[in-house]
């Protein structure tokens, strides 16, 4: 199984999925920053990661899930730093021979990410805070 992980402050662009021989299913998930956090309007979230450990833990999680649900390729891109509302904070692309494995990888990985991968929403920025940050 091919595993590709990137933790980046750069905006996540649309990507071309890795189409390997045997691919019969492609599942894609993008986590988008909502305009509301804990009941209040926000303009952006700031993410922080312990990047070396986060990448290693993600690889272990993907390998463990892949041992039960064999997939061909898993590509994870997680953004860090300031991520404005409406932009992608995490993108997950999974290819497999069949849809069942691809869906299982996608949902189980996202659950495990939120339990074990050392990445944090550092703070939620209001419109005023985000504007002040852009001007600084």
């Amino acid at each position: 199984m091919q595993i590709e992980i990137q933790i980046t402050p750069q905006r996540i662009a649309e990507t071309i999925s890795p189409l390997l021989a045997g691919v019969g299913a492609l599942a894609e998930f993008s986590g988008i920053v909502r305009a509301e956090e804990a009941g209040r309007a926000i303009a952006a979230l700031e993410y922080e990661a312990y990047s070396p450990m986060a990448e290693q833990v993600m690889r272990e999680i993907i390998a463990e899930i892949g041992s039960r649900h064999p997939c061909l390729c898993v590509r994870v891109t997680h953004r860090i730093g300031i991520v404005p509302v409406g932009e992608t904070a995490i993108q997950l692309l999974v290819t497999a021979r069949h849809r069942v494995e691809a869906f299982a990888m996608l949902t189980e990985f996202m659950d495990r990410l939120k339990q074990d991968v050392p990445i944090w929403k550092r703070r939620a920025l209001s419109g005023d805070e985000f504007d002040a940050l852009k001007k600084s």
């Binding site: 993410y47 312990y50 450990m53 904070a89 944090w120």
Partner: protein, 79 residues
């Protein structure tokens, strides 16, 4: 020993990393005692904070030495 802090633990100490000196190999309880002697403000976070030694989550058998890099991992919230 280098200790890394993240998220709100950084705010509690006003530091992203700390240096503490330990003389022996310690278990997790011993590590926390040494850490809290230097940074008592972290005490209230101990019940919800996991330890990672050199980039891997610690378990009940993990021993910590002065050459290790230890990260304090508060509840994660990625994605």
């Amino acid at each position: 020993m280098r200790v890394l802090l993240f998220a709100h633990l950084k705010d509690a100490t006003s530091a992203a990393e700390l240096e503490i000196k330990i003389s022996d190999d310690l278990d997790a309880d011993g590590f926390w005692r040494a850490l809290l002697a230097a940074q008592p403000a972290l005490a209230k976070f101990r019940p919800t904070t996991r330890l990672a030694r050199n980039g891997e989550y610690a378990d009940a058998q993990t021993r910590f030495s002065d050459a290790d890099e230890v990260a304090l991992i508060p509840p994660v919230s990625g994605g």
